[in-house]
């Protein structure tokens, strides 16, 4: 009963809270407030609030240190660091911005930017980008554009997190393979998997979950020359030939005995750490996994299974919220802060993410301090970022369902993808109807 009543209470409380907030902001701003230019901030002293989801890992130590340094160097700006769990940011920030109580600057994931922008929650930051002197060439290919929605820039890149191939070298050695020979294409990858199989080792455990089966699938779709969605994101296209090839490759890993049949989420990375498998497609964030300290491992670029090089990457970006009554001075000060942070982002690598700014990644001291990241830097030339479209998360979820069903053998790859695309197209229509665009 305790369990029930607590849950009831929470739900009721949440419903009420939402209700009050909704009532409070039903008259909120609908469209965009004007545009604001950035540059070196010279105005009156301001305090700006900065929301971010950095509540775990190395960030809670690193970020306050950076901000303290920034505040010391800038007499007329005080940055207030407000770390909030990502889930809570999603729940609170839109309503807070509408009520004029949101942050002056925030960091969002790439796939959220369009959703916020479509609702008029973000300032158009073309002028800021220009005044800070940022151009496409300052970031990995296509990353600045990942913050562009309907011709306007809404975000400035902060970090990228591509997928890579993690390798347990001891497992390779035990199977009689050269532990330093990294598979780079389909032929060498299959050869390694076959050699491992001959020794009774299932070389790549494929899973059907977001982490990381979906990321692997999306990488493969692009490798086979496909796209997840058409160019204006009005139709899902991941059931194309490329998509079917990608998912068939994954389910064949099971059929051909390179992978166990029913792998749980994170089962594969745990198996790699435990010495039961040799390869795992996983994100750069795993480089900070403490469990690796006992393993002889390396990371390589994901092998090219399809016809071209491609790899999935997510990204995070700076945004300037369009609070009701936003003070332009605060936004200007925020722009100064963003540029300073990007210039000082080298140690962001300690959180298992790559700094987005090219000049920082090209700094030789980055690899001296974080040698494990070398592999991932090279991948950024052909990385693909999250789809930019409002409300896209619901359509993306159907991809995971398809991957799950196919990898578990519940449906054929083609059937699973066709079903998911049918659902995704309905969701895209719904998104279009609700968010416009």
């Amino acid at each position: 009963m305790r369990r029930i009543s607590i849950r009831r209470g929470l739900l009721a409380g949440a419903a009420l809270g939402v209700g009050i907030l909704l009532a409070a902001c039903s008259g909120g701003t609908g469209g965009n407030a004007g545009t604001v230019s950035g540059g070196k901030y010279t105005g009156p002293a301001v305090t700006i609030s900065f929301w971010n989801g950095w509540t775990g890992g190395a960030a809670p130590v690193l970020v306050p240190k950076l901000i303290a340094q920034f505040n010391k160097e800038h007499k007329n700006i005080v940055v207030k660091d407000v770390p909030i769990e990502w889930g809570n940011i999603a729940a609170k920030m839109p309503l807070a911005i509408k009520a004029g109580k949101g942050p002056d600057v925030a960091v969002l994931h790439g796939d959220d930017i369009a959703t916020y922008a479509a609702q008029g929650l973000l300032l158009k930051s073309d002028a800021i980008v220009k005044s800070l002197g940022y151009a496409d060439a300052d970031f990995p290919t296509g990353l600045l554009k990942a913050g562009n929605y309907q011709g306007s820039q809404y975000a400035i890149p902060w970090s990228v997190t591509p997928l890579g191939l993690y390798i347990n070298k001891d497992v390779l050695k035990k199977a009689g393979l050269d532990e330093n020979a990294v598979p780079t294409d389909q032929a060498s990858y299959v050869k390694a998997l076959d050699a491992l199989k001959a020794k009774g080792v299932q070389g790549e455990w494929v899973d059907g979950f977001v982490f990381t089966g979906t990321f692997e699938f999306e990488s493969l779709v692009w490798q086979f020359g496909g796209q997840l969605y058409n160019s204006d994101v009005s139709k899902a296209t991941f059931n194309s030939d490329a998509g079917v090839k990608a998912l068939t490759w994954m389910s064949d890993l099971v059929k051909k005995g390179y992978s166990p049949a029913k792998v749980a989420q994170d089962g594969n990375i745990n198996a790699l750490i435990g010495g039961k498998t040799a390869f795992n497609w996983n994100g750069v964030w795993q480089t900070t996994n403490d469990a690796f300290s006992k393993v002889s491992w390396t990371a390589a670029p994901v092998p090219q299974i399809g016809t071209q090089k491609a790899v999935w990457s997510s990204s995070t970006h700076w945004v300037f919220p369009a609070n009701k009554g936003q003070d332009p001075n605060k936004t200007k000060a925020s722009a100064t802060f963003v540029q300073w942070m990007n210039d000082h982002s080298l140690d962001w690598a300690s959180t298992g993410e790559l700094p987005a700014q090219n000049s920082v990644r090209n700094d030789a001291s980055l690899l001296t301090k974080y040698p494990n990241l070398k592999t991932f830097l090279g991948e950024l030339d052909y990385a693909h970022y999250e789809t930019v479209s409002p409300g896209i998360a619901n359509a993306n979820a159907t991809i995971t369902t398809a991957v799950n069903e196919a990898v578990l053998g519940k449906k054929s790859p083609k059937q699973a993808l066709d079903d998911a695309v049918a659902q995704a197209n309905q969701l895209l229509d719904q998104n279009k109807a609700q968010y416009g665009g």
Partner: protein, 312 residues
Amino acid sequence: MVNTALPTLAPGSSRSRGAGVRRRTGTAYLFLAPFLILFTIFVIAPAVFGLWISLHLWNPLIPSQPFVGLRNYIQLFTPGSLTSGDFWQSMQNTGIFTIGSVPLLVIIPLVIAALLNNKIRGGSVFRAIFFAPYVLGVAVIGVIWKYLLDPQLGVLNHVLGALGLPSDIPWTVDVPWAWFTLIGVTVWWTLGFNTVIILAGLKGISPDLYDAASVDGAGTMRKFFSVTLPGLRPVMMFVTTVTILASANMFGQSYLITRGGPGHATRTAIQYIADEGLSQNQMGAASAMSYVLFAFLAVISIINFRLQRERN
């Protein structure tokens, strides 16, 4: 919860009606008022507001919330619509879980309580042991069992393999095993609560009745069926009702252990409603689903009351 579940007393026809009764009723309402205010603010008002939301296309992130009448409900009952297939699958999943878990969560605690009710050495220790898992939050038990039941790396499959049994059972990844997992974990987790309630009920049965039954020559089983069970009737009705509602509201276990998979085969109604409302921001459709679920649970609860009502 207890108040609503226990049968209310028949109106006092033998008592004298009049001012005295009315004054006493007034006093009762006065004492109930503080709770009633909270109940109104936190349960009734949100419930009514939810009904209002369910009649709109209610996405809290967009500026306008257009009124759509019964469209959200009609879509749920229109095969092939965006929500109906997923919703009814999740309702079916909730049904499977409820049917699988409730009998176990009523019978096993009853047996354990009956055993613990004997004067045995270390009775309170056993009581604590059975109750202990209930203290843990769903996040904790979810993570623990996900590790123990991992198909390839988990302890259970390892032990099964060591015993010469199949060691590749996908406990958390494929049906029907995922249902055994979800039901088993839930029974392990919450049976202590039902046990304690039933135990309290057992303590409330007068020992005289057992003595009398013994004098009449009743054996252990006969006493259980003729004295214990009838004496427990109100308690059992409470336990059954609460357990049905709790099982029908299952969310955390499948969210954490199976992620609703394979596909959506173990995604429960609450899980789908939460996803639709909170992740996809379709509050209107989610509210409509909540009301359909509510209607189902209300009917089941009424049937349950009828079945177990004390016969005069």
